[in-house]
Every structure is written in structure tokens, then in C-alpha cells.
Point group: C2
Chain length 989, copies 2
């Protein structure tokens, strides 16, 4: 039976029994030998050296992703991925022993779609025979410090899906491969485990850690990557590569290298076979002493190598020939072409136990003054734009599903989410959201996101038109954070539709730039809504740079149903000056029903925070400081601070101002204390009615550099909490890890950078606590931070540097733009919650979730069409707070991908850390679920077909294998930190 | 009938009729379309742009030839020819429209012999289909200024033979291609014409010349390259390439270039097809305005390009696609893959007349202060070593033929001439003997020649053993020029065998380093020979640097028969001090039967030269000077003097000394005046009994650089001859060209370098003359020289420079060695003859011939075996003086290649410039000639099968086509400057 027929048959089956089962990609040729079976034989009584030809193709860095693909701008860096793939395929065909791995699907996809059918068939054959193997296989190799798990899962899903659909089972990567990211997150390991990878390899780790592991033979280990998921769910075998991801010294045969080729023609000068072989044997034997088995791996490749693969393979063929020829004379070294999975298979066969690791690999230092902790904050504007874009994309995805085909073709034209999905996938790259790319490349990432959002806006408009039965033109205001929205600034009557991408109802304060002084607002049911007009702050007026001239903001609370919208109508009542609510003096306090914040009357700074419900209170001072970035000109080391590296000249930051000038706004909807610290640092301390979070909206920049000093600006919260040098940060927005000053859990740290060496990535939150109090700070983007003093938590907000940090980017991180030629201004928000530690997560999980997936506002001008449906929810009912609807996206015509997540760790909350059961059948309001099947996390395998290597840790534990059973395929139970992925067949109602 | 059978049949035929006729290479597949038929169609009504993919692979320059082949030392320059050929073949297979030309057989040969039979078959197919075309095809692309015609013919023959034997007729290049040499010699054009090339292309010519030709549309022209050979024998269509040999600006798609690739995926950023196409059309149209036809050529390649040919071809495919697509919209530009021969064919089809040129393209200047006239002298020691090596190789070749197989296997082991042939062929490269390579590469060329000579010495010893019936050990003394020969220095009795590679008997003065004070010498017939012992000069003692300690030299005249040897026995008579023949005072004169030389008693310098036979006499002062090399630090131009470029800081050279200290030696055999000018310049003025030439043996070096001034040392002859700013130099050792100061025959020169702009290459001789007197200077190597003043001739002897001249070599020309760490010392000889102009050639042709092919001395120690044959000639009789036996070398088992040359120009001599007839059957003494067939000059075509394009010059002349007929195939007539090439089937007697 042909593959197509099989697929149809499966689809029929599904409609009958409700369970999906069909090949996820093309049928694999039954004669293929891909996978572990395709590995070359090794020799049991010898040292087997696995040569792994590979290229590391950054999805943007010094050049944009498309420049890299084409080989454009080779004046910046010689690199052209189209040629790499051309060349590798040609060379693989020349010798069936040769192997190659390819990693970055963003590039492979570009190449594949330009190939002829016959070339595609050739490549399929290579993949089917295991000669070309995909490794990792996401759209990109994501950054681990600054990415949010939801975007990482999306990009991995996109890449792996392409491979699945193009190559079937033989295209499924079996190992994860993060050879370049600058530190490794535990959550990434957890995700990789749940994506079905048998193992994980990386190249960079702390130099002290590496030395320790070499001595202990712990460069290969078992990483237990979750404290909530039962082992081995999040167990990931992890291997540290011997030379980063480069070949051993003297054995780089790429066109970009100068190592001597093998000169084996005895008729020509400089015959060097004996020299090459003896150098190789020396290196192999030395490497074998720091690994456990009689197998070692050598990465034969590097950045953008194999553009002319012949150079590599011709010499590798000879190396293998001449080294193995010595076996006839008793040599016990066997060299072979291999892949990471083939190497992994041999480690697995060794049947050993492996050191267990439960923390992560942050921070990464490659030398004693070279901590890669700057990029946690580098390019804060890009980091925020990426985070907003994720929120917008999830909305776009959801509305594509909820309105069905009407979303893609509708009154506003052809809309689609693919452009945005690809832009977001590319942005996860470890030189994208990380902020470690050149400026023009950063601009390209942002432009791609903007383009993607343009395409999504059409889809969203179409979808809302279908759901609301109104094709009134939808207007988007992407600059509300700086109080710019031409429609609201000028319109006398308009409506704002608030779409809520969360599976539970939210309340949200809307702030709209206006020029009137009084407005009437009514909700979807026609009820009046309390609204207030407050003046736009001076800081905002400074930041807008002629992009808008609203003098006031209209503020009111909205509510939006789960996966749904609610439409509010706004009418101008009165033009004129704003109400005189400004109080230009130091406020004593602001408060709402949950929180009370006091200010020092002398300085204008925060002085305390109290939770009125729990009746707890802490001293809290908050101010802004800057570290003077090292310019590299110092006796201990010549390392400057740069895009990657944070290295302050002194451990004591400069204070920007001891006092703040303040203004106060107090209304029934919001209370604000506006603080000015300098012309380039200001803040609004804001408390909305009904909120459990105190908002600190900071505005920083342009950082002055006329003193020729690079600046790294932090805000520091100094509290009365007794932290004992410990604080907590999240890993990729999910599980929380404990951090202790000048300490690493697995080795005795010799600390050489007291600030930078204590910085950790903060993706979505950090907290400090003692027995009584937990102060959690939720961030609106990834940032770096640390707790250097007792009770203190500092977060780096913005960086402006004058020197490159010599890690390749070759530009100082000195951001300007045509709007900000004098240096970028960045605005962001921190949300503070003060809770009792045992229940703090109940608050911060929800706050953070609302920060990540924020409501989308769309506007329509004038009167609403009377037939317009003003309120809608895509769900039949809200999900419980513990359950997050992580993914809802169209898969193909009838299929929808759904991810549900338990968003609490097992120990976080007595209430929330409990299993929750959700009914899939009764989930959606607009469609019927007629089939369901569970998949692995990356949606490239049926869950029940996922088989992973089992690895034994070096512990005495007797693992208790827990297996859970759902009540039925339709009633699924989520346990703490569990993410479950389903492919649903749906029929629109 | 199979090819092998055909060949055998032909051989049988030959024995019957005496005329050779068989395929010179493998039979060509009758279905092939190589040659002009394989060219792509063009469009008559359009501008046709011929894109010529090519690589320019220097046979040594910054790296050695083997380093270039392998891609070793890529730190110096990224270049690996093995990969170029790998890659080009792969890419040609991908698209049958693609074309490639390959030029340097030294590399192609290295690659070919490492290919599998199936790859060889693939390549044959490409050649048979005209997709891979050989162009030029010599072993290397020879230098034109510093090479001797005999070595050029040899290297071309070697390369073309390989192509013929490997590929048959389809492998025969149809165009000559000298895209890089730094000026172009008329003799090269003449040779190319006689080798059967249909046309010639080059890249470099004087910038003023180019401008003039662009305006006049004379960048394509007909070069009449001989004033003696009847047209069109030496007529060569010559095309000047538009961009040197590079692609037009912005269109370099090699891995070594940074030009933007064609980005034609509309889904990706920076789609640039329109931009590329419009830039290309602009360039093509501009180029068409400076050429005559509706065809233009673009060289799409450069130095060592196409290592990753995919980059080039992928973009060229697209360029052709998109440019030609515009034809549908009316565009009149047609782009196609092409080759120089396909382009040439279109020029030929145009049926136009072309400007006629009869001079040459020296000197070459690429800007007003950038004359490439330094390399005429650069590395004078290497230049001399190359010239001696040629002489030794010809001797080796001759003895291989004369003694037959016994030469290759004999009492001294296995000898062969191939190593030396290859070493000499490589040394003709335009960065080899030219002296423009890096030091380590120059060392490599010398080492190769030394290795070759080692292998030849075995052959020569075997051959002499066979011919002399004595296997006494043969000893070679290669350092006789510095009076070093361990055997003669210590032996009491020895024999010296003098082999004469010329086809006429020669007399020769032998000088042997000895420590005795009296010797007896007897000739082959046992007759006593007049011999004298003279002291070794102080200059020689200084130069030896502990390589020998002889105090005296034994001097005597020897005579050797044509292509034969004569053995002289030497016995020590008396140890002790040398005879007191030294006269440490300024001599008045020295003289022999032909010449009288006087010296100024005040200065010790030469003061006059007289020919006693003709009774002519001239004033002649000779001295040594140095130009201060420009260091590039000057207002007119920052061009320094360097390996390529000669640029003195001032037009007035510094005199080294106004006076010379002198010593005189006067014996019956030789008279010498030894002159010291400084610690680094000395000279011996020497007159042997019976010689028509005055010898000036100069010793120069180490040039002092402690004053931080680069020095370019000349000797200048100032005479009473009225030269009217005219002098004469030879072209590659053959025809002589007239040079006039500050003048170029084909355009009005704007002279900007009064010295360097008047320098010309002197390969073997230069002369000045007036109606009464001609003073000819014969050199022992290639040198640069000029006539800056009336009656004056200067020759540059040695150069030591402190700056690189920015033409790529990236080293100053500052030669040192382990023996001369303080700077190289160079010794050489100039031979002066003074004759009446109408008969001067009768003397200088013979002197120069003896300088080029010098007798080879071999020594045997002790008594001679009584059965030893002491004299031998390979010829039945000497050839007339006008006839030079240019080549006698084994071709294969039964075949011998013979070249006979008329060595006079048509106008040179009433006596000697007459046709001469030679009988081939009665030529050799050791073998019978049983078959003969004439070939073209490069021996890759039967002469009667050679067909060349006919080209019409832009003149009113009605050409008189002269056809000559030999009396019989065995009786061949040579006319002035004619070289005739024969393949002989011989049977050893």
C-alpha cells in the first residue's frame, strides 16, 4: 500500500475511534539503515576515535541569517550556507563511509526548497542511509540564558516538524547538540529529554568546572533536569565535547584553516603522512585519558565550515586510511567516520553509571576574568521586543485556530502566521535574543518580527471579524508603552477590543494616549467603567521623539474572558487640560487593597512594602546604579566588558542619584509616583486597583558616554529580608533554581569576579526570601541579575559599552538608531510581589504568566456596528489557575496542536502543586475535538512510540518508577511542571 | 581496427617508407565535439559576452609548486590546486553548458596521476566534449623576459606532450594564454605561432599602450613576430584581455572574493537580481566600445580561484539565466559560457583586418613610476643556475640518445632525465627564473634543479661509460666557477673528459683548482698540451667561504668534437708555490691574436679595445656603479624598488670606485688583469689565447646595507661608439630588437622614469653600434640593461633591496643564505666582442651559443684504463656554424626528437644568413635514422597536419607567400631563424 493510502486509512480510523495514528512524515524506505543501525562498526579492543564532520551555522550573528545563507557580505565573514550544503551532499556521494551531521533547520529549509526533485531524492537517500544525519534539528540552536521555554519549544517544533515531514523517521534527530551556547540551562535539558533525545552534547562550560570534570572523568554525566518531573522524564545524558566544537589542534582541514594537508604523494616534496599520523595518535591517546570509555569523539568542523567539503573529506579519508593501516603493526587505535548519535550509542553500550547533576551550567566563564554574564541583559530592547512578539504570535496562533480558515482569508486579505513563526524561531538563536550579534543583524531580527506581525495582524483582523461578525477596520497600536496611538489620540469615539491569550480570565489596566480630559467607557454589556485621565509623564514625552503628542492617558480596568475578547467603547466627553491630579512633592505612600508602598520623604525613594492581606512588611529601598565597564586596560586581565562579557571595573557601582525628584498621581484606577533620578533614568512606581503586584516602570537612556566610560545600569532592591547570600532565579521561565553567592554546587569555586561571577540569567523572575518573607520580582524580558549583598537583589537593565569583548562580534555594544542617535532609551517593567514563602508561587506564577502572554488590544474607530459580537471566549470554561494553555496552533487543515502545562513546581504551593485533570473534549467553544493523540514535547513523535536510552546515575538511589494513567484519552491529568502535547482533530462547530 | 593495432601498422609502414605517421595520442572518440565545434552558438545581432571561467595557478610564487598543489602553507596564501581540479570537474559535470579552461600542465599532471581510472575516464569525456579545454598547455606559463627560448620550447613540449598522450587531439590547446607575465617578448609570439596556436591572449601591457589601443580599437592585433621568417610563419593573432585576467568589478564570485552573490530567492531578504543584471549590462556595453566586434570576453577567475568552483558556477549560471531572460524584452546582450578559443573563433569569423605589430611589449609599466624592469636581474644567482642547468640538461639528453638504453641503466645505477626536465620546466615559470618568488620558493627551484642534475649525473656517467668502454667512477665538480674541486685539488693524476653539446667542435679554456705548481697535460692522442698554473685570485678566495682551499688554478685549452668528448690526462709535476707571474701594478695592456685591451695606468680601468684582425679600435671605459633603490618614500610616487620593479631614487648612479687596484697575470694560455673596486666588487679582465671574446668576470656582493640603502649594481661600458640613443637586445636569446631611448614604436611615450623606463631584458646579448663599430656584450644569464647615454651600455648585475614592491611577493629582495648570511655574492661573466657591424653576428652568435651550451667536465681519478676510448663524436660530421642542434632527446623507446635551428637572422651576415641543407640520414655516428617526420615546434602535431587561422593585417602589403620544398625528407634545408623539429626513428648501430 502506498504511503498516501496508508495515511488516508489512518485518518478514517481516527474518526471512528478518536485516537490519531498515522506516519508523521513520509514513509521510510523499508530497506533503509538510518538511525543507530547505520553506524560504522567499532573495535572492542581498541580506542575508537569517532570523527564527526560538522558545520556550526549561526542563524545570524555577524551577518543576517539570509546573508549567511547566500554567502553575502563575505567581507564581514566568509560564510555561505547554500554552498556548504551543496558541497557536503556532493562529497557524501563520493564515499559511502563519510558522514555529516546538520543542525540548523532554518538554513536547511532555505536550501531544500531551492533544490530540484532529483537532488531532493538524492538527499533523502543519504538521510535514509544515515550518511547525512540531522542533529538537534530545531529551526535554530537556541540560546539558553535569555530564551523563554515557550518560544524554544515552538522553534524546536518547527524545525523538527520540517525534518519529519521531509524525511520521516530517518530525519528525526536522536541527540541534542548545543555546541556553542554560552552556558546551559537546566530547563533546556528538561525540554530535550521530553522531546525524546537520547543524549545531549555541548561545548562550553566554566573552565574550572571542565578541569574538575576532566580529573574526575565526569565530562559525561547524567543531568536530572527537573525537581518536579519523576525520573527519568527529565533525565538527559550529557556529554561535554573535548575541544569546544573544533577539531584538535593541527587537524583543521577546512578552507578557513591553515593546517597542513596530508601530503601523501611520495613523488612530491614534504611527504608528511608519518608526522600527521603520529600527531594524531598522540592527541587521541591524551584525550582518552579524560573520558571514561574506549570511545572518544572529535568534532571535525567549526563555524560555517565545509563550504568546500572536499578539503575536509579528502584529508579525513587519508587520515583514516593511514591511522588504521597501523593496526596491522599492532596499533590499538581505530578511527572512523561517526556522528554524535553513533558515539552516544557506544557510550550507552558501555553500560556504565554516570555522575548525576541537578543544577545548571551558569554562569559560564572561559577564564578567570571572563564571565559571559553580560549577554543576559545585552540589547534589552530587542529582548523585550522578542518577548512581546511571542505573546503576539500565541494570540495569532490561537485566533487562527478559533476562527478557522476565515482567519487566513477574510475581509483584510490573506493573513498567515508562518512568517511570524519563522521570525520568532530565528530570534531564539544564541546570537539573536542573546543580544550578541552585530547591530545590523539585531536590526534584521527586529525587522523580521515586525514583518511577521504585519502578516499576523491581517490574520488577527480576519479572525476577529469572523468571531465578532464585524468587518470594521482593526487598528493596532504597537507603541502604547510610550503613549503613542494616533487613533486614540484623535478619535472622539472608538472601541478597544482586548484579547486575552490565557486560558483563564484576566483583569488588565488599559492605558490609552489621549488628548481629551474626560471620557466615558462602557464594557461589552454596556455598563459604565470607571476611567481616569492622567497626564503623560515627562519621561514618556522625552522618549517619544516626535512619534506622538498625546498629553494624557486614559486609564481603566478591563476584563477579558479566557482565550477570548471583550470590547470596550470609549467616547470623548471633554477636551481640555488634564485634571489637576499631579502632586509635585514626595509622596508618603500609595496603596490599594493588597499592597502598601511607602516612600522616604527626604529622598523620594521607596522605603517599604507591605502586603495588607498577609500583614507582612519589609523595608525596601530601591535605586539605580551603574557599573563602570572595564575597558580591558587593567593589570589583572585585558578583558573588556562587551556584548557577551560583563566585567565591571570595580565591584562598587556608582549611584546615579541619592534622591529622586517625584510627582504623584492618585486616582481610583491607578496610583503613581513618578521618580526622576537623572536626565537618563526615571521610573514610575505604579499600583493599579486590584493588583497584587507593584509595578516599577523604569526608563533608562540614552546612557551618557561623553565621559568615555562604558556603563551598565542596574536597579537594586535592598530589603530587610535575611537572604544568607542566597537568591533564586527561574530557568527559561519555568523551574526555579537556588543561587548562592560565590558558590557552585558541584565544585569548589575560586571566585575571581565578585560581581560578574555572581550574575545569573533571570528569564521571568527572581526572588529572595527568608522564613517570613519572599520578595519576587517578575521581569518583562530576560535580564541578568545577582544578589551581592544580604537582602539585596540587583537586576541589570541596560548596557552601553565602548569596547568589543573579543569574542568575535567585533563591535562594541553601543546601541543607537535613527530615532535615538544619541543612544537607545529602554523602558521596561518589574512587578514586585511580597508574599509568604509557602504560597508565594500562587501569586508570582500568575503574574509572570500575565506578563508573558499579555492581552492584545485592537481598535476600531467610530460607532460599533450594532450586530457586533462584543465578547467571546474560545473555551467552554476557564482552565484552573495551575493549568496553562501553552500552545494552541493550527497543524494542518484538520489538525490542531495543543499543549497544556502544569505551571507549578511540585514543592511550590500546597494548593496549586496538585495534579489537575482537564477534559479535552469539552475544551473549546468553537470546535469539536473528534480525535486526539498525545505526542512528545516537540510534536515529532507519538508519545507512545517515544523510546529513549536508559542511563544509570552514579547514586545509591533505587529509582521509583512512577507511571500515571489518564482516566481516558479525553480526560488528561497534568502533574506539577508537566507539559502535555496533543494533536487534535477538530471540526469547527 | 583498435587504436593499438593502427599504431602497430603505422610503425611497420614507417620502416618501409621512412616517414612516420601515427596518432600522437590516444584515438579520439569519433563522436566527440571538442575543438571549435564544441563552442556554444552566439547571436549575430547581439553583443555576445564570452564568460571564460579560469584559474591562474602559478607554478610556484609565494609557495612552492608542491605547496600550491597540496594547499599546504595556506597561512601564506590560500591556494590548493588539487582541490581546484577536484572541484571544477565536479561542477562541470553538473551542467553541460559550463566550460573551464586549464593552463598549467605541471599541476594537471600531478593531479591526473592521483586519479582513479574512472575519474580519468570522466575527465577524458569532458575534454572530448570541449567542456574542459586546455589552453596554453605548457608545463608552466613561462616568463617572457628572462627565459631562454630553448628552455621555453622544452617546457612547452613537455606540457603539450602530456596533453597529447593523455587526451589526443582534443587535448591540444588552440590558443596561447600568457595572462600574467610582466611584458611580452616577440620571440615568444614567434614560438607560439610555430607551435600552431591560432591566437594568443595576455593581460598585462604598458598602461599608456593600453589607453592608446583602447582609443584606437587596437587591443586585438596581428603580431608579426619575426623579421626573418616569412609571414605568416611567425604571425600571431594577439588579444589583450579587458581586466588583466580578473573578472569585471563586482563580479568575482570565488571563495576568495567578497562580491555579492546573486540572491534570487524572492522569499529571502536582499533580492538583487535586477541590480546584478543592470550592473552587468553596463559593464558589458562599456567594454564593447573599446573592442572591434560584437563579441567581448570576460575572464571569470583569477589566481588560484575555483577551489570551490560551485560558488562561481552557481552564480554564473544565474547570471546567464537572468541576463539572457531580458532578450525576451528586447535586450541585445547575449551571455554565454565560453573559452578563449571559442571567442577567438568568433573574432576570426568576423573577417576583419587587424593592426600589425612588429616590436614587442617591453618594458611593462602599470603606472607612471612603476616599471617592471627590476626582475630582468632579480636573483642573478638563480638566473645563472637555471642557465647552467639548461646546458647540463641538453648534455644529459644528448648522451641519453647517443648511448641508448645503456645510459639509463649502467654501472652507476638508474639514471634518468625526467626529473631534470621537470625541474627545468618548472623553472621557466614567470615567478621562477624571473626572480619574483619568495626566498623559500627560490630555494625550492634551485633544489629541484640540483636533484634533477643528480639523476642526470648517473645517466651521464652511464653513458660515458658505455661510449668510452670504461666504468671508472666519474666525478663532477659543479663549483669550478669558484675554483673548488676536491679531486683536482688533491689528486696527483687524473683525467678530465670534456663533453661538447654543440654540433661543431669547440675550443675551451679549462681552469682547474690545484695545489701543485706544475702539471703535465696530454690530450686524447697523447700529445702534450700547453698548460699554466696561475694563483687563485683573492676575490675567489673570499667567495669560497671554506668550501675549498686550492691556491692555484691549472689552465689549458681543450678541444672537443661535436656532440662528443675528448679526454685529457693531468699529472702533477711539482708541489710548491705558484710561479711568480703576478704583477701587482696597473697593466698597460693585454692582448692575443685577435684582441688588444688597454688600461688607464692612473685608474686601472679599461681604456680601449681593439680588434687586431679588422684593425678597428674604440675607447672603452668600464666601471661599476649602484643605483639607490627607492624606498617608496617620495613625493612623486610611493613605489619602492622591489623584486619586480626597478625604481632608482636618482637617475645618477653612485660610482663604487674611481680607480681599481689591480694585479696582472700573463701566461701563454691566459692573460688576466684582476681589478678590485671595493670589498664587494671585483673583476677579472681575461683574454684566452685564440679567443675572439674579451671576458669580464665580475664578482659582486655581499652588497652592504648597513647604510639602510637598497642597492642595484650595474656595470657600465662607456665607448666612443656613436649610438644616437639606440641599442639592441635579443629576445629570449634569439632575434635582436632595436631599442631607442625614451621611445616606443607604436605610441608617443610620456617618459616618467628616465632609467627604469629605458631598461630592457637582455637574455643572451646586447650591442651598441655605429657605422664602423659594433660592441657586443654576451651575458651568461638574463639581465636587465639600458643605454642611457650616447655610446654607453649598462647592465644590471645584482640587486639587494630593503622594501617589498607591493606586487604580492611581500618580501624585500634581500638574498642571504647559510653560506652568505651577510648577503649573496654573485659571480658572472660578460664576453665582449668588437666587430664590424655587417659581420658582427658571425662572432657573437657563436660566442653566445658557447656560453649557453658549455662543455661539461667530468673527472676520473688515477690512471686511465688502457682500453678507454678517449675521444668520441656523436655526429658523423660537424654541422655548419649557421646550424645549431637545438634539441636531441629520447622521445620513446625507438624515437628521438631532433631540432635543428638556423641561428642567424636574415639580415645579420652575408655569409651565415644563407640557407643550409643538412642530411638527417648521415647525421649520427651511433645510430641509424630509419624514419623521419617533421613536427610543429612543440612536437605535438605533425607539421603537415598543422592548420592555423589566417588573419589579415591592416596594411596595404600584398603578402608573398613563400613555400619551400626540401630536396627529400632526409635532406632538410634551414633558412634564417628557422627551427625545424623532427621525430626520428633510430636504430643504434
Amino acid at each position: 500500500m502506498a504511503a498516501e493510502a496508508l495515511r488516508l486509512a489512518a485518518a478514517v480510523l481516527l474518526l471512528l475511534c478518536g485516537t490519531l495514528s498515522f506516519p508523521l512524515g513520509p514513509e521510510t524506505n523499508p530497506a533503509t539503515t538510518c538511525g543507530y543501525e547505520s553506524c560504522h562498526a567499532t573495535k572492542a579492543n581498541m580506542l575508537n576515535v569517532h570523527l564527526v564532520p560538522h558545520t556550526h551555522d549561526d542563524v545570524g550573528w555577524l551577518k543576517t541569517v539570509d546573508q549567511y545563507y547566500y554567502g553575502d557580505r563575505n567581507d564581514i565573514q566568509h560564510a555561505g550556507v547554500q554552498y556548504i550544503l551543496d558541497s557536503v551532499v556532493d562529497q557524501l556521494l563520493k564515499n559511502p563511509d563519510r558522514r555529516f551531521i546538520y543542525v540548523e533547520t532554518a538554513f536547511f529549509y532555505r536550501w531544500w526548497k531551492r533544490q530540484s526533485p532529483s537532488m531532493q531524492q538524492t538527499v533523502r537517500q543519504l538521510v535514509d542511509e544515515g550518511r547525512l544525519e540531522f542533529v538537534n534539528g530545531g529551526w535554530c540552536m537556541s540560546d539558553e540564558a535569555t530564551t523563554h521555554y515557550s518560544a524554544v519549544i515552538d522553534q524546536m517544533t518547527m524545525g523538527l516538524r520540517f525534518l519529519n515531514e521531509t524525511f520521516g523517521a530517518c530525519g528525526r534527530p536522536r541527540v541534542a547538540w548545543h555546541i556553542d551556547p554560552f552556558g546551559h540551562a537546566r530547563e533546556h535539558a528538561s525540554m530535550f529529554a521530553q522531546m525524546g533525545y537520547d543524549g545531549f552534547f555541548f561545548g562550553r562550560l566554566d573552565y574550572q568546572d571542565r578541569t574538575h570534570r576532566m580529573v574526575q572523568l565526569e565530562q559525561e554525566l547524567l543531568w536530572r533536569a527537573s525537581d518536579s518531573l519523576p525520573p527519568p522524564t527529565a533525565d538527559l545524558f550529557t556529554g561535554i565535547l573535548p575541544n569546544g566544537y573544533n577539531p584538535p589542534e593541527g587537524f583543521c582541514w577546512d578552507q578557513s584553516c591553515d593546517d597542513p594537508p596530508i601530503r601523501d604523494d611520495p613523488d612530491l616534496e614534504d611527504y608528511n603522512v608519518n608526522d600527521v599520523v603520529s600527531r594524531f595518535l598522540g592527541i587521541a591517546k591524551a584525550q582518552a585519558t579524560v573520558y571514561k570509555t574506549n570511545h572518544i569523539i572529535m568534532t571535525m568542523g567549526s563555524d560555517f565550515q565545509y563550504e568546500n567539503a572536499n578539503l575536509w573529506y579528502k584529508n579525513l579519508d587519508k587520515l583514516i586510511l593511514y591511522v588504521n593501516a597501523l593496526q596491522a603493526n599492532g596499533s590499538k587505535v581505530n578511527v572512523l567516520y561517526s556522528t554524535p548519535s553513533c558515539y552516544l550509542q557506544e557510550l550507552h553500550r558501555a553500560n556504565l553509571t554516570w555522575a548525576l547533576k541537578t543544577d545548571d551550567f551558569f554562569p559560564y566563564a572561559d577564564s578567570d576574568h571572563d564571565f559571559w554574564t553580560g549577554y543576559f541583559t545585552s540589547r534589552p530592547a530587542l529582548k523585550r521586543y522578542e518577548r512581546i512578539s511571542n505573546s503576539n504570535l500565541q494570540t495569532c496562533n490561537q485566533l487562527e485556530v478559533l476562527a478557522g480558515p476565515a482567519s487566513r482569508t477574510g475581509p483584510f486579505g490573506e493573513g498567515e502566521s508562518q512568517t511570524m513563526k519563522k521570525a520568532m524561531a530565528v530570534a531564539q538563536h544564541h546570537d539573536a535574543v542573546s543580544g550578541t550579534e552585530k547591530q545590523h543583524v539585531a536590526n534584521d531580527y527586529a525587522r523580521r518580527l515586525a514583518n511577521g506581525w504585519q502578516r499576523c495582524q491581517v490574520l488577527v483582523s480576519n479572525s476577529l471579524a469572523a468571531l465578532s461578525a464585524s468587518s470594521a477596520k482593526r487598528i493596532y497600536c504597537d507603541n502604547l508603552n510610550i503613549s503613542v496611538c494616533p487613533l486614540t489620540e484623535s478619535s472622539r469615539k472608538f472601541a478597544v477590543t482586548v484579547y486575552n491569550p490565557l486560558a483563564r480570565p484576566v483583569s488588565w489596566a488599559v492605558r490609552l494616549p489621549v488628548n481629551g480630559s474626560a471620557y466615558a467607557v462602557s464594557d461589552a454589556k454596556g455598563a459604565a467603567v470607571d476611567c481616569q485621565v492622567v497626564p503623560v509623564s515627562a519621561a514618556t514625552r522625552g522618549v517619544r521623539r516626535n512619534r506622538g503628542f498625546a498629553v494624557n492617558e486614559l486609564v481603566f480596568q478591563v476584563q477579558a474572558p479566557p482565550l477570548g475578547y471583550s470590547t470596550y467603547s470609549v467616547s470623548l466627553l471633554q477636551n481640555g487640560p488634564p485634571p489637576a491630579s499631579m502632586k509635585p512633592r514626595h509622596p508618603a505612600a500609595i496603596q490599594n487593597e493588597y499592597l502598601r508602598v511607602t516612600f522616604d520623604p527626604d529622598t523620594g525613594l521607596l522605603s517599604s512594602l507591605a502586603n495588607l492581606e498577609t500583614k507582612q512588611s519589609i523595608k525596601l529601598t530601591q535605586n539605580f546604579y551603574w557599573y563602570n565597564a572595564s575597558d580591558g586596560n587593567n593589570t589583572e586581565s585585558n578583558q573588556p566588558s562587551g556584548a557577551y562579557i560583563f566585567r565591571p571595573n570595580s565591584s562598587t557601582p556608582f549611584i546615579i542619584s541619592q534622591t529622586a525628584k517625584t510627582e504623584t498621581v492618585q486616582t481610583s484606577v491607578v496610583q503613581e509616583v513618578r521618580q526622576w533620578f537623572s536626565p537618563w533614568v526615571s521610573q514610575v512606581v505604579r499600583l493599579y486597583a486590584g493588583s497584587r503586584a507593584l509595578e516599577l516602570e523604569w526608563t533608562v537612556g540614552p546612557l551618557p558616554i561623553d565621559d568615555s566610560l562604558g556603563k551598565e545600569v542596574i536597579t537594586r532592591l535592598d530589603t530587610s529580608i535575611q537572604t544568607a547570600e542566597v537568591f533564586y532565579t527561574d530557568s527559561n521561565g519555568r523551574e526555579v533554581l537556588r543561587r548562592k553567592k560565590d558558590f557552585r554546587p558541584t565544585w569548589t569555586l575560586k571566585q575571581s569576579e565578585p560581581i560578574a561571577g555572581n550574575y545569573y540569567p533571570i528569564n521571568s523572575r527572581a526572588f529572595i526570601k527568608d522564613d517570613a518573607d519572599q520578595l519576587t520580582v517578575v521581569t518583562d524580558r530576560s535580564q541578568g541579575g545577582g544578589s551581592i549583598h544580604n537582602g539585596s537583589l540587583e537586576i541589570m537593565l541596560h548596557r552601553r559599552l565602548l569596547y568589543d569583548d573579543v569574542r568575535g562580534v567585533a563591535e562594541p555594544l553601543n546601541e543607537t538608531s535613527h530615532i535615538f542617535p544619541d543612544g537607545l532609551v529602554v523602558r521596561g517593567r518589574l512587578l514586585l510581589s511580597l508574599e509568604r514563602p509557602p504560597v508565594a508561587a500562587d501569586t508570582h506564577r500568575l503574574i509572570a504568566q500575565e506578563m508573558v502572554l499579555q492581552p492584545l488590544l485592537t481598535f476600531t474607530d467610530g460607532d460599533l456596528n450594532p450586530n457586533t459580537r462584543l465578547e467571546f471566549s474560545g473555551l467552554q470554561a476557564a482552565l484552573p489557575p495551575a493549568v496553562h494553555l501553552l500552545t494552541l496552533t493550527q497543524w494542518d487543515q484538520d489538525l490542531v496542536l495543543l499543549r497544556l502545562e502544569h505551571q507549578f513546581q511540585s514543592w511550590e504551593s500546597k494548593v496549586s502543586s496538585q495534579p489537575v485533570t482537564v477534559s479535552l473534549q469539552k475544551l473549546f467553544s468553537t470546535m469539536e475535538v473528534v480525535g486526539v493523540s498525545e505526542m512528545n514535547l516537540s510534536a515529532n513523535q507519538w508519545k507512545d512510540e517515544m523510546r529513549r536510552f536508559a542511563w544509570a546515575p552514579q547514586t545509591d538511589e533505587t529509582p521509583v518508577l512512577k507511571t500515571f494513567q489518564d482516566i481516558s484519552p479525553w480526560e488528561v491529568t497534568l502533574r506539577p511542571m508537566e507539559i502535555r502535547t496533543f494533536l487534535l482533530r477538530v471540526v469547527l462547530r
